[in-house]
Symmetry: C2
Subunit: 142 residues, 2 copies
DNA sequence: TAAATATGGTCTATATTTGAGACATGGTCG
DNA sequence: CGACCATGTCTCAAATATAGACCATATTTA
């Protein structure tokens, strides 16, 4: 738990920098979180963790992503060095995406998050049901 | 590393369910990730990890969030049982937000992500610079 | 030979989300 | 009376995501 807090403290250093300067020092944590914390990136990384996959395999694996977002997410992840892109000169050219070492190293921390999600999901659902069901959450106005 | 993979495997169970059924079983991991993986939630939780804070304190801490999104993010986190909301009947009423136990329990996994971000940030920046600087990333067309 | 299929994308028009900032509420201060 | 504080809500505009048409090329099917 204090391990956790020390990481948070490290983060908060940037936060206060942020609060001081006009042009904020770009907080690494935030920068990274903005990248991998979007709708598809983690999903993509988890999917590629199973095995390298091609464009259309990824599309099948993550059924509700649009081609546009798939392309864009892959580009962004490639740009940040988390995945690599390999083109094979097959008849209709095929492209395979793989987790780069940097992406591999993200699996460990991500796994602990997945673990948390899995273990706590019932609590969240309970809280949600409670919040939604309780009269008194509707009249929010003071 | 195989700890990581086992978590990923657990996740992929839902993925394949997903691929089979028309109306997908809602994957807990994904459900949770969609919630805390938005633009502000993690930031909010990290900020509240330092200490309970009031609406305007949060606004100052996260300078570029709009009131609208601040309210909405707080509501969503409250709904999911990650934070709690306490109204004090001071002259202009004040509202304090606190991390709930469920939110506390998220700190540990989140910390490992922060840790990763902090340690790997230079690698990411390097990859980014390389990608942006390398001619040959522009002509992406086959 | 022509049509259909598959690949990895891009482009456009629409839908959704986010942000900026006006407005509300009720009490205190000058 | 009028201004100000805190905590929101509301509306409208801007940014972003989505669906799905379209493209070029090559192979298989009819």
């Amino acid at each position: 738990m204090n391990t956790a807090l020390s990481a948070i403290e490290r983060f908060s250093r940037y936060q206060s920098d942020d609060a001081q300067s006009e042009k904020p020092v770009h907080c690494p944590v935030r920068d990274v979180l903005d990248r991998i914390g979007d709708k598809w990136s983690m999903l993509m990384i988890m999917t590629l963790a199973r095995r390298p996959q091609r464009f259309s395999e990824l599309r099948r694996a993550i059924r509700d992503i649009s081609k546009r977002m798939l392309t864009q997410t892959l580009r962004d992840l490639e740009r940040d060095g988390l995945i690599t892109r390999h083109v094979f000169p097959t008849k209709p050219p095929s492209v395979e995406y793989r987790l780069a070492p940097l992406g591999q190293s993200l699996l460990e921390p991500m796994a602990s998050l997945i673990d948390w999600a899995d273990r706590r999901y019932s609590d969240i659902r309970a809280a949600r049901a409670c919040f939604d069901g309780t009269p008194g959450n509707v009249p929010r106005q003071t």
